[in-house]
Amino acid sequence: MGVIVEQFPLYAQGFLQTLRICLFSAVGALVLGTILAGFRVSPVPPLRMVGSAWVTVFRNTPLAVVLFAVAFGLPELGVNGSYFYFGVIGLTFYTAAFVCEAVRSGINSVSAGQAEAARAIGLTFSQSLSLIVLPQALRTVVPPLGSVIIAMIKNSAIVGAFGVGGDLFANGVQLTSAQGYAAGAVLIGVLLGYLVLTIPGGILLGVLERKVSVAR
């Protein structure tokens, strides 16, 4: 177990890198996913097609394939950047598809009467969506959205493995490969890092869930 104490700076640095990847990707995925969900329920067919194509592609492709495709594809489109940005972009694109589906099922869970009432007082599509339906949908969406984000935190390990490096997982790999520490001990340290993120995340989610839940 000595490795966790000896190499604590490396663990801490990895933890911060993981946190950075997760924060950027979470914000990006929530924004992009909500926009895509809006596309998927909009009355405009081309936008609906974009939404469902996105979901079909990114939900059925492994994250590792998405990451490599982004890293090889974006430079050809003239977008250059570090592996860190490619990693964040890949994770964002991938997670956005799941956020989109969570938000969409939340929108569908709002009872029809609400939207009908909104229309009856003359609200437009975007008004009824943003003022009536989305605020209510968000309540139902919180639990699945939380699960998506927690899954994303775990997926950030794949981003590290794919070459971003410097995160919890990549630093753990480095400790076992290059520095020859026993894998078991290194593993425990790495897992602790992820648990520090996911367990409070789960608790926060539970609190949030109770807070926003309403009897319907």
Binding site: P43, V50, R59, P62, A69, Y94, S128, A151
Partner: protein, 292 residues
């Protein structure tokens, strides 16, 4: 229209407005696609040199490339099938022990399940490949991948099965007990068979997650699609083309599995209207959260 909750059946003005915005949005989408295509064409990404090995049967590399991709497909399916088989068996054991556990050690079962659920799959795979040899268990790489994937998927399947058992009407178990069956008999011959049936859609969705996660084998040099793609790229230097094909293969397999799950779900909810409706897997369904 399925989304009609949000808007009325459109009148003439709205129809015209929808038509116009459809036109505008369609043009924007097409322009974006055209820009990407032009850009890629400008970089020579549609050249026969890069696509030939994948689409032209007369290309000298064609056979070799597709043989490698075929091997990758087999490697992926073998890993996924083994993971599914082990996860079903171990998951059922987990579910049964969680359901029947005496409260003095139930916390232990719940603890193990919650712990394994919290471990990122990629870490489970990597450390299976590192820790097991350290303790003297030298296996072919395939097995490290299967062990890592099983560690995660078995507890997810356990939770799916448990949710399935919980969704059954109480009368099912009561009828069993009243016939004089023991607890184990009630579970194995009454509850579990029905739970499997009810949760079949969720189990198929989980198979999508398993197929996707086999791609993590590249971390331990298991020759599935990602690893194979990276090997091919080293000689042919056509990453975009190879990854487009690999992504397409995954999309076809997983889309078909997804549709199968939907089909089974529809059938179940039609056929079992009298007894049990398919339970909502809810947040248990990792296929809905991005898995891993």
């Amino acid at each position: 229209m399925t989304t009609s909750v949000l808007y009325d059946a459109p009148g003439p003005v709205t129809r015209r407005r929808t038509l116009i915005s459809s036109g505008v949005a369609g043009v924007i989408v097409l322009v974006v696609i055209a820009l990407v295509v032009i850009r890629l064409a400008g970089q020579g990404q549609f050249s026969g040199e890069l696509w030939g090995p994948l689409v032209n049967p007369f290309d000298p590399s064609f056979l070799a490339v597709w043989r490698l991709l075929g091997q990758a497909l087999v490697a992926t399916l073998v890993a996924a099938a083994l993971t599914l088989a082990f996860s079903l068996v171990i998951g059922t054991l987990f579910a049964v022990s969680r359901i029947t556990a005496n409260r003095y050690y139930r916390w232990l079962v719940v603890g193990v399940i919650e712990f394994l659920r919290g471990v990122p799959v990629v870490i489970a795979i990597f450390f299976a490949a590192r820790v097991l040899p350290e303790v003297g268990l030298d296996l072919p790489i395939l097995w490290y991948l299967v062990i890592g994937l099983t560690a995660y998927n078995s507890v997810i399947i356990a939770e799916i099965i448990r949710a399935g058992v919980a969704s059954l009407p109480r009368g099912q178990a009561e009828a069993g007990y009243s016939l004089g069956l023991t607890r184990g008999q009630v579970l194995s011959s009454i509850l579990l068979p029905q739970a499997f049936r009810v949760m079949l859609p969720a189990l198929i969705s989980q198979l999508v997650v398993i197929v996707k996660d086999t791609s993590l084998g590249f971390i331990i040099s298991y020759e599935e699609f990602v690893r194979t793609a990276n090997i091919i790229i080293q000689t042919l230097h056509n990453p975009i083309q190879i990854y487009a094909v690999v992504a397409l293969i995954f999309i076809v397999i997983n889309y078909a599995l997804g549709r199968l799950a939907e089909y089974v779900e529809r059938r179940l909810s039609r056929a079992r209207r009298t007894a049990v409706a398919p339970a909502d897997p809810g947040t248990l369904d990792t296929a809905a959260t991005g898995g891993a």
